[in-house]
Symmetry: D2
Subunit: 290 residues, 4 copies
Amino acid sequence: MRIGFVGLGAMGRGLAGRLAGAGHTVRAWSRSARSRDLIPEGVVVVPKPLDLADSEVLISMLAHDGAVRAVFLAEGLLAALAPGTIHINMATVSVDLARDLAKLHEARGAAYVASPVLGRPDAAAEGRLHLLVAGPAAAITRLEELWAVLGQRVWRFGERPESANAVKIATNLTLACAIEAMGEAAGLAGAYGVEAGPYLDMLTQTLFSSPAFKLYGALIAEDRFEPPGFRLALGLKDVNLALEAGAEAAMPLPFGAVLRDRFLDCVAHGEEGRDWCALVMAGRRQAGRA
Amino acid sequence: MRIGFVGLGAMGRGLAGRLAGAGHTVRAWSRSARSRDLIPEGVVVVPKPLDLADSEVLISMLAHDGAVRAVFLAEGLLAALAPGTIHINMATVSVDLARDLAKLHEARGAAYVASPVLGRPDAAAEGRLHLLVAGPAAAITRLEELWAVLGQRVWRFGERPESANAVKIATNLTLACAIEAMGEAAGLAGAYGVEAGPYLDMLTQTLFSSPAFKLYGALIAEDRFEPPGFRLALGLKDVNLALEAGAEAAMPLPFGAVLRDRFLDCVAHGEEGRDWCALVMAGRRQAGRA
Amino acid sequence: MRIGFVGLGAMGRGLAGRLAGAGHTVRAWSRSARSRDLIPEGVVVVPKPLDLADSEVLISMLAHDGAVRAVFLAEGLLAALAPGTIHINMATVSVDLARDLAKLHEARGAAYVASPVLGRPDAAAEGRLHLLVAGPAAAITRLEELWAVLGQRVWRFGERPESANAVKIATNLTLACAIEAMGEAAGLAGAYGVEAGPYLDMLTQTLFSSPAFKLYGALIAEDRFEPPGFRLALGLKDVNLALEAGAEAAMPLPFGAVLRDRFLDCVAHGEEGRDWCALVMAGRRQAGRA
Amino acid sequence: MRIGFVGLGAMGRGLAGRLAGAGHTVRAWSRSARSRDLIPEGVVVVPKPLDLADSEVLISMLAHDGAVRAVFLAEGLLAALAPGTIHINMATVSVDLARDLAKLHEARGAAYVASPVLGRPDAAAEGRLHLLVAGPAAAITRLEELWAVLGQRVWRFGERPESANAVKIATNLTLACAIEAMGEAAGLAGAYGVEAGPYLDMLTQTLFSSPAFKLYGALIAEDRFEPPGFRLALGLKDVNLALEAGAEAAMPLPFGAVLRDRFLDCVAHGEEGRDWCALVMAGRRQAGRA
């Protein structure tokens, strides 16, 4: 297939490289000059987004709503798409943006498919991502061969693209909850003489023996917040996406509200560039144990 | 060994039965007449707690602090113990009580070992419990053969019994956090067209594929809150234990505080007898989606 | 003075009328056709915002950030102002908008003064508003004769317009806190046999004998939430302004976070059009006492 | 009247002195030897609580539930009261204790009247307290001449003594809410260039011009947390009383929950002996502005 790829960050590079490796024609554009040195083999870089307008499938993996709006709306990529194009947006964006884009693509005769992912750059490069997919069924079905390259499993959540974004946002909220929960639990054990390491070892080998708890549990136990696997500032962005999606649906999210304050506390203490597991530092400070 | 067993509830019966089955002499006492009909094979019931005072090892599995204080302090079992006796308290009790009992046993020349457990009655009966153990090292080591009967693995948390209780309390807090987190996440997905079942399926087969998330995720997805696996009223008790332990250590636990209000909301709506996963109903009510 | 007035809602009408009554030349524009029937005596209505570009002093009292941006930026009123014009923005807008507008006015050679107010439409019409004023000192001083017409007292908060907006937003946050605090306190008294009326009477005649507590206390005691004095939906808007201003300054506001969830609960239950004192209904529902 | 007075702390001394000054026979007992040097004129100190058993009216003003239980239950004063005695408990105690004592007095043929107060020691000494009174109507009515000496106004809350305690506890909760609300509001204003002094001046001269806001506003504006007017540790005790009373009634109190964490944060930072307005320090620390 003739694929256009927008966004060559750590995630995008892995995915674009896999697509090229699988024999697809992949042209890509990236806003960041820096990352142009890191072009995956077989991927051709184009000078501007509009050069990708004639792709059969357009895949975007941009950092936030603003970047998506800039490329697709302000710079006009959406308005230049040929009818019949399928756009797969793999980024974690707001439900609002997903809804707007779905309508605008439909008006243009193009299909908008949301496919945010679970997994980090290494998983992206190795085809181990979980793909959370929602959008027009016909388009999703037509892309079967791509999904197999992009990740290990497709989880379908219906025809409304924003559903997949809500799923992704809710899942990141759950991850942040796991961090805070481990922080409070390990703090409590610590107050009674049990160190975080042995406590979280037990926790993540018994009732909570899942990838998320194991990964974050180890980071928390070892105070290993640098280099960041996922920056705390991005975690705050995602919790805000959750709170906004909740607000639009008139749904209080009290854990979300606590998390937002925890993130702000960390930002106030200069930790926005650390791994988001540094969230537990807010609790330690509050208890005078930082 | 000559074992005395106090408390023949669902957990206690399974454990006492295993000990008798392993060839130990097990005499038991239970406050509840009702459960006397359910005596495990090989276990001899005695008429009053004091009849167990001459045990080599005394194991108790009572419902709450009050029951422990009643039997060991008010009814005088502790004061009647022979020096050298080892008392293993397997219940989820407060750190305060653990500390008090440790001192009183020591004064008496007896050893107090805390060993709260992870697992439900079926796991108790089948030797699959995880044992969270803290207390005098010599006593714990001497009991090696018993631990192998009581559970699948011993997790040791030092010499202060209350450490094991803090670990247990912190872990139950984490479980309650998991329920609330899934409630908020599934609620958010639900507001954007994704039902709890498919959402929680995905969640608990990917990042959160642990026993706790799988078990509770299924209950939440199916609104299966009766019969209760663990009563909501007991969950409230345990969150209060966490908050009290935190308060004593001057440690704010904001997720714990949110959970307490959630539990009270459920009690106000008559749900104290349902499974504690019914906690998610509080969120649904708040969002007008109950 | 030759005054242009933008926004003839209930507040704006009172203020524009007072200015005309004091002998100033007042031309006004309002987006809402409906309110054109309610033009205060002596005020001349102009057909479009740009007709006010040649005013010496431009006063705006619009409903929210969006309306201000529409009139001053999108419709170009700001770009058409003569150098030397003073713009007094009396609305409750975000600190972000205030900062943006201050810069844009300065670039244009105009002065931007923020003057949000304390008081309701009757106070506006009778000159009893408190004016929270910040902006260029020279401009504020030059307007002395206007301030005396617009309100009973000027409270000055320095030269940065957004300071006055922060003060207004913080004060509305305090008002919402007062409502929730009375709701919790009256709820607690109520659970032990004391009705809200006698309880709040005592409270607001002793330690809390202030205008805000007296006014809201009476509404809460009598469940008098309609017609709204201040719509709950506007209260949510203002709490969001506080949370956003806090977030920008990396400042957690835990009472603010609780209030946001309370407001969302009320919106979920169809109460956005009631007086914001209906916030207490959320607490009553949670306690099963609605 | 022949009055027995239990508890000669700062509040009790003022009250006992007023009663003696009004011509009543006042005998008093105090647990603290230290305060025996500070006996008000006309008050006779007795060596032990039981010496007061034959009083017509027994007034107690003790520090907390534990002290009341010690004197009236453990030391047997209640059991020694003559039938017909009226006991006025003026302390801030739990609703639970009030209910227990009401029953025990009734069984004894004595009357139990709760009369917690609003006001500090100077108000007690000058007869300016507000008296929050509940209990048997006949007893309250019979004491009319005493009430006029004890305070400036009686607020009656029915026949169940615990109602008055709930009112007092709810009011202290409201006071703590006021402190936190001012802390958040002043913090927000401060983040945008407005100092706490001018901000709180404005606030407490306009919408919040009540005694509580004025007093606490001044302490917060000036960081005047020592010497304490009311110790932070006592504030925590009272918020816990509110949370417990709420829990018993299955009533979530989310502001109360936030406050508890704030108090614990302050205790963790060694501030339990400062004025409870030091609560605002927790917010400043969270925002990195302490």
